[in-house]
């Protein structure tokens, strides 16, 4: 029985109405590999009800989560998870809707429009390239990679945003973040530890001159606890 790797179709990104949308690239595929390797954890331990991807671009990562990682082995997408996606670029939000009709995209700066504590899972493939600070968050496709000083300007904001979005302890929650070696991932991991998250390097790859890694930051996780608050 061969394990066939499936990837969501994002051929519409980077063209036409979606010219300013970052098409799936090596960094995106590394993130997909990360989710694949975390399938058991996500399906059996975390069992997310609400996932938020910040900076979804083409939507490839969340599409993969809902269609291939969280769905059952028969390939039927019976995922009991609402997958929210945000992007600063409204064209990316629309592109994401086209990529996968099960996703729930919204145009937003980070995830400022989402209520605190609403998520069990946060995903981010951020703009990580070290650039001059004035290139961060500019209109158009450059916002997809411009990370400012040490490529950390958006990442640093994401740490606080993810912490806010994830439901409070003792509930189990997880945040997956992709980083470049120049972002100093170990320092970010230490910062997350100070905020109460356990850190784990999930996957790492050297591709096209970039040393990339995806980390999981996990908080909470009391066994056998059930909280129902309406």
């Amino acid at each position: 029985l061969t394990l066939q790797k499936r990837t969501p179709d994002t051929n519409h990104a980077g063209k036409g109405d979606f010219t300013t949308v970052y098409p799936a690239s090596e960094d995106s595929f590394l993130f997909l590999d990360c989710l694949d390797s975390q399938a058991d954890y996500l399906r059996q331990k975390l069992k997310p009800s609400v996932s938020v991807e910040i900076g979804c671009g083409s939507g490839v990562i969340s599409a993969h989560l809902v269609q291939h990682v969280l769905s059952d082995s028969s390939g039927v997408s019976g995922s009991s998870c609402a997958c929210l996606c945000t992007d600063l670029n409204p064209a990316a939000a629309l592109c994401t809707a086209v990529t996968c009709c099960q996703l729930m995209p919204v145009a937003s700066d980070l995830a400022g429009c989402l209520r605190s504590g609403c998520a069990d899972l946060v995903l981010a493939n951020p703009p990580y390239v070290p650039t001059p600070d004035d290139e961060v968050g500019t209109p158009g496709i450059a916002a997809a990679w411009a990370g400012g000083l040490e490529g950390r300007r958006v990442i640093d904001r994401l740490l606080t945003e993810a912490e806010r979005l994830l439901r409070p302890t003792p509930q189990l929650s997880a945040f997956y973040l992709l980083m470049l070696r120049e972002n100093r991932p170990e320092e970010v991991a230490l910062e997350m530890r100070c905020r109460g998250f356990k850190s784990m390097l999930v996957v790492e790859r050297h591709c096209a001159g970039e040393n990339l890694s995806v980390w999981r930051f996990e908080r909470g996780g009391v066994e056998e606890s059930e909280f129902r608050v309406f």
Partner: protein, 138 residues
């Protein structure tokens, strides 16, 4: 021809205008829809049961009430109780109505309104735009 997702009430339940300066809670956002369609989605009881504890039920009922406008929808809106029944996990009638409310009401055009400032956020092609100007930010 692409099948595009439109805003569902589950998404509305998570949205807030709290990123605006001076807004204390910013929830629930008023829903002023001008184009809504009932989009049949296969009933999934497990999905509703799994999602319910994560939702603010009063936000759900408020949103459905906002959609109760003449000539907005051809089909009747589901009648929702003011609170989630204790036996919700086994109450198929309730779960079916909740599923329609949460997953089958597609908001395609309209706007969301901050309950404290009146600031409007457009919904176009089924996607809400919650971007604000720098001078509005908290």
């Amino acid at each position: 021809i692409f099948k595009i997702s439109n805003m569902k009430l589950i998404l509305h339940n998570m949205l807030t205008s709290a990123m605006i300066k001076g807004v204390k809670k910013g929830y629930p956002l008023l829903l002023r829809a001008t184009k809504v369609e009932l989009q049949p989605v296969e009933f999934d009881a497990g999905f509703v049961v799994h999602m319910l504890p994560r939702l603010d039920w009063s936000g759900v009922t408020a949103a459905v009430q906002c959609l109760n406008q003449p000539d907005l929808l051809q089909d009747p809106l589901p009648e929702l109780p003011p609170t989630v029944p204790d036996d919700y996990a086994n109450n198929e009638d309730f779960l079916r109505k909740a599923h329609i409310a949460l997953m089958q009401l597609d908001v395609i055009e309209g706007c969301l309104v901050c309950p404290e400032t009146g600031r409007e956020f457009p919904i176009a092609k089924g996607i809400p735009n919650m971007l604000i100007n720098d001078n509005e930010a908290a």
